[in-house]
């Protein structure tokens, strides 16, 4: 099912996907564990980077560069969400530091 150019590159890509998948899971665990809202926001931030990396890897994997635009948008936009969270944390005060699921 892999369609990288060579077995070598395919293997590298699989390793990359594996690392990214584990990272993604790691991010989600942090999201679940928190314990504070900022912790979760950091997890979200991390996941945004992973998504960028994932899209980039997938572009190589499929040989299609059209997905890069999605990565650019994530890179450019995701921090706005973080900014919003930061602002909320700032306003909501200490309460947001203990925001358990």
């Amino acid at each position: 099912m892999l369609n990288g150019d060579t077995i070598f590159l395919d293997t590298v890509l699989i390793i990359t996907f594996a690392a990214l998948s584990i990272s993604l899971v790691g991010g989600v665990i942090r999201l679940l564990k928190g314990p504070s809202l900022p912790d979760r926001v950091v997890a979200l931030d991390l996941i945004a980077y992973i998504v960028i990396a994932f899209i980039a890897t997938y572009s190589i994997f499929t040989g299609t560069s059209d997905f890069i635009d999605a990565a650019i948008v994530v890179a450019l936009i995701a921090f706005l969400g973080t900014a919003a969270f930061a602002r909320y944390v700032f306003k909501a005060g200490h309460e947001s530091t203990d925001d358990r699921i």
């Binding site: 899971v25 999201l31 997890a43 059209d66 635009d69 999605a70 706005l80 969400g81 919003a84 969270f85």
Partner: protein, 777 residues
């Protein structure tokens, strides 16, 4: 002039009525009476033709698609009724003008009463059964307005409603019956149904249809147990009662039975039901009259008795009965119309209608007294008045009844005994004896108020003494119409020799006088009041209980369904969704869980897992912000999924929207403190079950659809035209801005409106905005 024109003329004048009242003042009644008079005279012109044996059909296409024509049928029966309606109507206009002369609402009275008159005329003339129904309902509406004329009084409003609901429910049943009848016969023209009585009576729907039609007729004609609305309707001003309850509205039911008799009668069902209900009503009505002292109540119950008699006769359906119907209808219209007007005049002049407090008025009100007495004699069935002939025919009919003859004779006699007594009470009590002083100075009424009784009562004498004036011309043809035969020889005469009927009459009169003598004593007796409660008030209480019960049930069920709690609404909606979709899925398809997971790579599993886990985190999150953070993760993962499956535009859009969602939620939640509601475990479990069921259903449906051999046939078209015709290489975008630009246009309208709406919602709230800093909930 055509028949249609005659009806429309009266309707048209109804709209002029208020102006007439305004500008012509005291002469308005007289002026307006010219209209029914004209129509009356015009109809008298048909007498030779009709009595010559011909019928007149007049038909206009109305709604051909429904088979509904505005068609009229003039034969003996309808002619007789048309004459009664317009004839009595003429005097009612005059009387009404006098009676309500100073009332500021006189104009509305004219409007309603003329509307009623036109409708009633329509009822008796219509040939198309639906046209008849339409006029029928119009009489209900206009009589509602008339009964509720004194609408400031709660009693009037209630009585009007009562009459409307009772006759309205009957009307609806009747409508169903009519439709069935039309379907059974394949025509809506009554005149075309006459030939199909065999088909009708053997049709499996016959009994159902008959009952429905009878409910309509019985409610309108105040048959037991629906009779209670009629005395209640006495809340109306007297001109109204005089018109509606003597000659017209209540007779509509009788008319209907008579009209349809050729089509419906002759069966065992008809004979039993109609005869028995009639007889029972007759008995009950007659004796209830004696339980009251209000002139109008007495007259009302005696009207119930008359209607019962007519119904009973129509149930018998044989020759005597049919003749009796025709004569009795005419006789009753004349004397009852007169008597109501007299009662009204007495009330108007003496200020009360209670016979216990009025007597000796003959000296101050000689005309009124005279005509009242004549009418009462006719009602009592004394020779030589028309009432006598009618009553004799009733007895003859009962004597030759085919079912329960003994019961029917007894019932007829006993009822008439009560009527004799009632006649005494309404005619002798107020006018004879010592004049009683009461606050008001009593005068003779103006001419407008006694000319009606005068004409009508004199006619009772004229037709009684010279019955040939009516028998050949009208009565025999009317009777023939009822019997459904072209010719029915009716020779009316005062003297038939000494026969059974005459003997019964004598017995009746003697007993009636006796009852009159002891009336004062037994009227207030426990037993008789009990009878009134059972038979008079009982059904009325039944009606009120049903109404209250329905209203009570209405509020209970409304409180149950529309209970104000959004969660309950959602629970119901979602449960319904799960049940109906689930039921359909499991009964209509072979649910299979066939699924192939072999082509899925590990990172796709991971992303799927992340989406689910993040969404789960959003569900479990204690605060909205945490939920939104989790949702952001789910959203980014979904956009990754879009990337994996070749949808870069979607992925970008998803990321953008997800991010803006986070921003909005953060902006909003800054102002809303954390709120954790306590929910019981049982409701959590319940919600979980519904949620789980819905999710399972959706999964099953998607899996099922995935087994369908999918043909994305449109794709090629888009590919071929995307660049060649629409100059775009991004097919998705070309779909958005060109192939399906209308969708996109709708989409921007949606978000545009959302923007305008959010802006308004926030800014417009500012003036009302009363947020206290640090307010907690």
């Amino acid at each position: 002039m055509t028949i249609l024109f005659s009806v429309l003329l009266i309707f048209a004048v109804a709209f002029v009525g208020p102006m007439a009242a305004k500008y012509l003042k005291n002469y308005s009644g007289w002026a307006l009476s010219l209209v029914p008079l004209t129509v009356f005279l015009w109809f008298t012109g048909f007498i030779p033709e009709i009595s010559g044996g011909s019928v007149i059909n007049e038909s206009y296409v109305w709604v051909s698609y429904l088979g509904i024509n505005m068609s009229f049928y003039l034969d003996g029966l309808s002619l007789m009724f048309a004459l009664i309606v317009t004839g009595v109507g003429t005097f009612i206009m005059i009387y009404g003008g006098g009676y309500l002369g100073s009332d500021p609402n006189l104009g509305r009275f004219y409007f309603s009463v003329l509307l009623f008159m036109g409708s009633m005329l329509g009822v008796v003339l219509a040939d198309n059964i639906i046209a008849l129904f339409i006029f029928w309902e119009l009489t209900s509406i206009s009589s509602y307005l008339l009964i509720g004329y004194k609408h400031n009084k709660e009693d009037s409003r209630k009585s009007a409603l009562q009459a409307l609901l009772v006759t309205g429910s009957g009307g609806l049943a009747m409508l169903a019956g009519f439709i069935l009848l039309a379907i059974m016969t394949g025509t809506m023209e009554i005149s075309e149904m006459f030939t199909q009585s065999g088909i009708v009576s053997e049709h499996p729907w016959y009994l159902g249809m008959l009952i429905l039609v009878l409910i309509g007729a019985f409610t309108k004609s105040a048959q037991f147990p629906f009779h209670f609305w009629l005395p209640g309707a006495m809340a109306a001003p007297t001109p109204v009662s005089a018109y509606l309850h003597s000659a017209t509205m209540v007779k509509a039911g009788v008319y209907l039975l008579a009209r349809l008799s050729p089509v419906l009668s002759g069966t065992i069902e008809w004979t039993y039901i109609v005869t028995l209900f009639g007889a029972v009503t007759m008995l009950i009505g007659a004796w209830l009259a004696l339980a009251h002292t209000d002139l109008k109540k007495i007259l009302a119950y005696s009207t119930v008795m008359a209607l019962g008699t007519l119904t009973m006769l129509l149930g018998m359906g044989h020759e005597y009965a049919v003749k009796a119907v025709a004569v009795f209808i005419l006789g009753h219209s004349l004397y009852k119309g007169a008597l109501f007007m007299v009662a009204g005049t007495v009330d108007h002049e003496a200020g009360t209608r209670d016979v216990r407090f009025i007597s000796g008025l003959r000296k101050t009100m000689p005309f009124t007294a005279t005509f009242g007495c004549i009418a009462a004699l006719s009602m009592a069935g004394l020779a030589p008045l028309l009432g006598f002939i009618g009553k004799e025919l009733v007895y003859e009919a009962a004597l030759s009844a085919s079912v329960f003859p003994l019961f029917l004779i007894t019932a007829a006699v006993v009822s008439n005994i009560a009527v004799v007594a009632s006649s005494g009470i309404v005619a002798i009590r107020p006018f004879f004896g010592e004049y009683k002083e009461h606050g008001k100075q009593v005068h003779e009424a103006p001419v407008s108020m006694w000319i009606g009784p005068a004409f009508l009562s004199v006619l009772s004498i004229v037709f009684g003494v010279l019955p040939f004036l009516i028998d050949g011309s009208i009565i025999s043809k009317a009777a023939a119409s009822i019997a459904g035969t072209p010719e029915l020889v009716v020779s009316l005469s005062l003297w038939h020799g000494i026969n059974a009927a005459l003997i019964l009459s004598v017995v009746t009169f003697a007993s009636g006088v006796a009852v009159y003598m002891v009336w004062n004593k037994f009227r207030d007796s426990k037993g008789f009041q009990g009878y009134d409660r059972w038979m008079g008030e009982g059904p009325k209480n039944g009606y009120e209980n049903i109404l209250a019960g329905v209203l009570n049930f209405a509020s209970v069920q409304t409180r149950f369904f529309q209970n104000g709690y959004l969660r309950y609404y959602l629970l119901t909606v979602l449960s319904f969704f799960v049940l109906i979709v689930g039921f359909t899925l499991f009964t209509k398809t072979d649910v299979s869980l066939m699924a192939d997971f072999s082509d899925i790579s590990f990172y796709e599993w991971t992303i799927a897992l992340v989406i689910v886990v993040a969404a789960f985190a959003a569900v479990m999150a204690g605060s909205g912000l945490v939920a939104i953070a989790a949702l952001g993760v789910a959203g980014y993962s979904i956009s990754l999924l879009y990337v994996l499956f070749s949808a870069p535009d979607l992925a970008i859009t998803q990321v953008l929207v997800e991010t803006l969602t986070v921003i909005l939620v953060a902006l909003v939640l800054i102002h809303i403190p954390k709120f954790t509601a306590t929910t019981s475990t049982s409701s959590k479990v319940r919600d979980g079950i519904i949620a789980g069921a819905a999710g399972t259903l959706v999964t099953l449906i998607v899996l099922a659809v995935l087994t369908v051999d999918f043909d994305p046939f449109m794709t090629d078209y888009f590919a071929e035209n995307s660049y060649v015709v629409a100059y775009g290489r991004n097919i998705v975008n070309v779909i958005l801005v060109d192939f399906r630009a209308l969708d996109t246009f709708g989409e921007i309208v949606v978000i545009g409106v959302a923007g305008v709406g959010v802006y308004g919602l926030i800014k417009l709230g500012k003036s009302l905005f009363r947020k206290e800093e640090g307010k907690t909930v």
